[in-house]
């Protein structure tokens, strides 16, 4: 027993950094998800000519906290004849899968909870694919038609688009030549980002990841106007909040995977170009600008509490600016440069990716289930497979031709095939009644 305790302490001492990071991540994640929701609402409001939440805190900055409190103290309703065990386990499964996947993501060099496994990026995908059980089982356990239909739709959708996402990821992995997250990112240091080499792969991953996170226009499982709330219909209070949390965590996860694979991970733009080094000064300056903006807004706040809160926000930003500036200015902080700035760039890219998600949601109508399946199976999967084949050919040809030429040729070929598929799909959607009979 003593030996075991000793072993555990040994383990803790050896992995203090990752463990601390894990604790921080788990503690911050609900907050991050909450503020992601606020951000979503704000962006949505901006696109829809309104203001969004403005009441709680300045510009509604405290809204997520109020929402979380509301959810926590809400009555927990369990439907009659629900399968209790499964009903309880399901949302937890969703969250656990999402969080475990997040643990394997590197937010910066070394900023990773899990050991950088030999199969790093696959681990993320594999574990996050387990989240599907939370959805299916939750829908089944609720003992409701809407929930079950939502759950079945959801699982079919996830499984279908996972294939496309997987194939899209393969295109990035082919270029990197490794599964290790660090290796993938570093492979993009000397080159352009992989998005330039495999634009089709990036695009297919973008579409598939939207579908995998059940976001609009693929949000059929929770299509409000049809299935009320899909698999979450019967959930309320904290358990519902868990589903919500897992959905937003999944968004962060897929955005992180895309960033790692296609957008250069934690590298700043043009990491190997020497004369663009001044870009390193951008992050602290940006943070300083936010600080200044907050300070300017302080006198305009009507209530003292809001003033203090805005000051606190300004302080946080200033602290961030300082942290970002320190490795540039102070010698003893130099070793942390990569981690701090890497984290900044990584989060920036993740935010940009998530912004595209939100943008799509507010612009596009929703697919119908059969259309969604057709898109997945008849367009996305063939295109992504052709893309992988093309990329393989391009890399094989790269010995003889310049890489850009072979890539251009194969990408063009892939796009041609994609265009053909779009036209063929258009013909088959032209007769929806016939398609419906399948």
């Amino acid at each position: 027993m003593q030996e075991l305790v000793h072993g555990l302490t040994q383990f803790a001492r050896m992995n203090a950094g990752p463990l601390a990071f894990a604790v921080v991540l788990v503690a911050l994640l609900p907050l991050m998800a909450g503020y992601l929701v606020l951000l979503e609402r704000k962006i949505m409001a901006d696109m829809q000519v309104r203001l969004g939440p403005m009441r709680v805190g300045p510009h509604g900055l405290l809204q997520p906290i109020a929402d979380a409190l509301k959810l926590l103290i809400k009555e927990d309703i369990i439907p009659e004849n629900a399968d209790l065990l499964v009903f309880w386990v399901a949302p937890a499964t969703s969250v656990m899968a999402a969080m475990t996947a997040l643990a394997a993501i590197a937010f910066g060099p070394g900023l990773q909870v899990a050991r950088d496994l030999n199969v790093g990026i696959l681990f993320v995908v594999g574990v996050s694919s387990l989240g599907i059980f939370g959805i299916v089982l939750g829908g089944w356990a609720s003992n409701s038609h809407y929930s079950l239909l939502g759950a079945l739709r959801s699982s079919a959708q996830l499984v279908s688009y996972e294939t496309a996402a997987g194939m899209a990821m393969v295109s990035g992995l082919l270029l990197a030549g490794t599964l290790q997250i660090r290796g993938i990112v570093e492979a993009q240091r000397g080159h352009w980002w992989f998005i330039c080499y495999a634009p089709v792969g990036f695009f297919t991953y973008l579409v598939a990841s939207v579908a995998e996170t059940n976001r609009a226009p693929f949000d059929l499982p929770e299509a409000e106007s049809e299935l009320v709330a899909g698999y979450m219909t019967e959930y309320s209070g904290f358990r519902w909040a868990l589903y919500f949390l897992s959905e937003y965590t999944n968004m962060i996860v897929v955005a992180s995977v895309a960033t790692t694979l296609f957008l250069g991970g934690w590298l700043r733009p043009f990491a190997s170009v020497r004369w663009l080094g001044f870009l390193d000064y951008l992050p602290p300056l940006l943070m300083l600008a936010v600080t200044a903006y907050c300070l300017v807004r302080v006198p305009q706040q009507p209530v003292a509490v809001q003033k203090w809160f805005l000051l606190a926000v300004a302080g946080c930003c200033a602290l961030g600016a300082g942290m970002l500036a320190a490795p540039l200015a102070l010698a003893p902080a130099k070793p942390y440069f990569a981690a701090v700035h890497g984290c900044f760039w990584f989060l920036l890219k993740v935010s940009a990716y998530i912004y595209v998600f939100l943008w799509l949601r507010f612009t596009l109508p929703r697919y119908r289930f059969d259309q969604l399946m057709r898109l997945g199976w008849q367009f996305l999967i063939p295109v992504s497979i052709v893309n992988v084949l093309g990329l393989g050919v391009a890399l094989a040809l790269a010995d003889r031709w310049p890489l850009w030429a072979s890539l251009a040729v194969t990408t063009l070929a892939t796009l041609l095939i994609a265009a053909y598929l779009v036209r063929a799909g258009g013909r088959s959607t032209g007769e929806p009644a016939a398609a419906g009979k399948a």
């Binding site: 829809q48 106007s225 596009l364 997945g376």
Partner: protein
């Protein structure tokens, strides 16, 4: 490639299973939509007979909002009943009021003065735009497009502001009186309407930019809920639902009322009678309504606003049917008078109710998701269906 194949096997099976639905065709599933459902636009209850996700039969259960409007009429004087009709189609109260007032005027044998007629026309056409805006916003929302709703309500707000300035109420306006108008047009009415019309053309283009050419929107609406012209006529559909099937029938043209005879406007029609055509028809109708408004404000005749009607209305015994082209279709009032101050019987032909008859025809063979689109495209208001 082995990996990919492996995935294919798994996924193929799952996808197939999903498309076969939940019950494997072993028996039919009855799904109850509503009366508390986000997409049934109020308290419509639809019992769907499903085979998997495919609808093989439907039954609309109505009456959850029944208030006995027609019966109430028998115990109110003619003027007293006027506000009640506002509460039928509550997103197009002005049109309801117009129909009722004109019906009673016909019964009395009086006519509203020209100025009243023109102002009535302006307000009714604004109301048509407002009603179509509500329809567009909610219809798009049902199909999953969030943003048009807010754009639509932005413009609707302008119209409601004009109503508010005119009569003080925004929704249930009770804007007209039997025999003409109670209030004259306020000073800047023309200017307000003109400003609205000037902006509005670009705004409709904005909605169309979001939806008309959108692949997903096309996929969700084209070929969904097809209603042939014969079916539409046989089932008594009117309004945009009928016109989208290719029948050029508009009360404003066929039996002109108010001041419509004076204005130039087109009646948009569709070809296939699907949800997309109904969408296009309504979009074009908004543009046409705007044109009518612009023509009308150019020359509002001067003169009195109330015709020769007494304080107490006692129409001679008899009966009258008068219908107007409400935003949803033909809104008819059949009023029987026994010579007393109260109508003997008022029968209302609500366009929503009649159009709802076509629902079952449209919905058969479609998926559950299309049910939502079809309810939306019918543009029903349950206050009017149930009365």
């Amino acid at each position: 490639m082995a990996e990919a194949n492996k995935d294919d096997v798994l996924n193929r099976g799952a996808a197939d299973a999903a498309s076969y639905g939940t019950v494997l065709g072993a028996d039919e599933l009855i799904l109850n939509m509503g009366p508390q459902h986000p997409a049934t636009h109020g308290v419509l209850r639809v019992k769907l007979k499903l085979d998997g996700e495919r609808v093989i039969g439907s039954e609309c259960v109505i009456g959850y909002l029944h208030r006995g409007v027609e019966k109430i009429a028998e115990h109110r004087s003619y003027q007293q009943f006027a506000p009640y009709v506002d509460r039928m189609d509550y997103v197009a109260a002005v049109s309801n009021g117009l129909g009722y007032c004109e019906a009673v005027e016909k019964l009395l044998g009086v006519e509203a003065p020209p100025r009243a007629k023109v102002i009535r026309t302006i307000l009714t056409e604004l109301q048509r735009i407002a009603s179509h805006l509500v329809w567009l916003g909610t219809h798009a929302l049902d199909i999953g497009a969030l943003t048009p709703l807010f754009y639509c309500f932005r413009e609707r707000e302008e119209i409601l502001k004009i109503f508010e300035k005119y009569c003080g109420a925004r929704l249930t306006t009770h804007a007209f009186r039997i025999g003409g108008l109670q209030y004259d047009a306020y000073d800047t009415l023309e200017k307000d309407v003109e400003r609205f019309c000037k902006d509005f053309d670009g705004r409709v283009d904005e909605y169309e930019a979001l939806l008309t050419q959108n692949r997903i929107w096309l996929g969700r609406t084209q070929g969904v809920g097809v209603l042939t012209a014969e079916d539409a006529i046989a089932l008594g559909a009117t309004g945009p639902v009928l016109r989208a099937s290719g029948v050029k029938w508009d009360i404003r043209k066929v039996f002109p009322y108010a001041a419509y005879a004076n204005y130039q406007f087109e009646i948009p029609t569709g070809k296939r009678g699907d949800t997309y055509d109904r969408y296009m028809v309504r979009m074009e109708e908004m543009r046409q309504s705007r044109l009518i408004c612009l023509q009308a404000i150019e020359s509002i005749p001067a003169g009195p606003i109330l015709g020769k009607v007494g304080k107490v209305l006692k129409p001679p015994p008899g009966e009258v049917y008068h219908s107007v082209e409400a935003p949803k279709g033909e809104l008819g009032y059949y009023i029987v008078s026994d010579g007393s101050v109260q109508p003997y019987r008022v029968r209302i032909r609500p366009p929503s109710f009649v159009n709802l008859e076509t629902f079952d025809k449209m919905v058969r063979g479609h998926l559950v998701a299309d049910v939502v689109a079809i309810i939306g495209t019918l543009d029903i208001v349950l206050g009017e269906v149930d009365r």
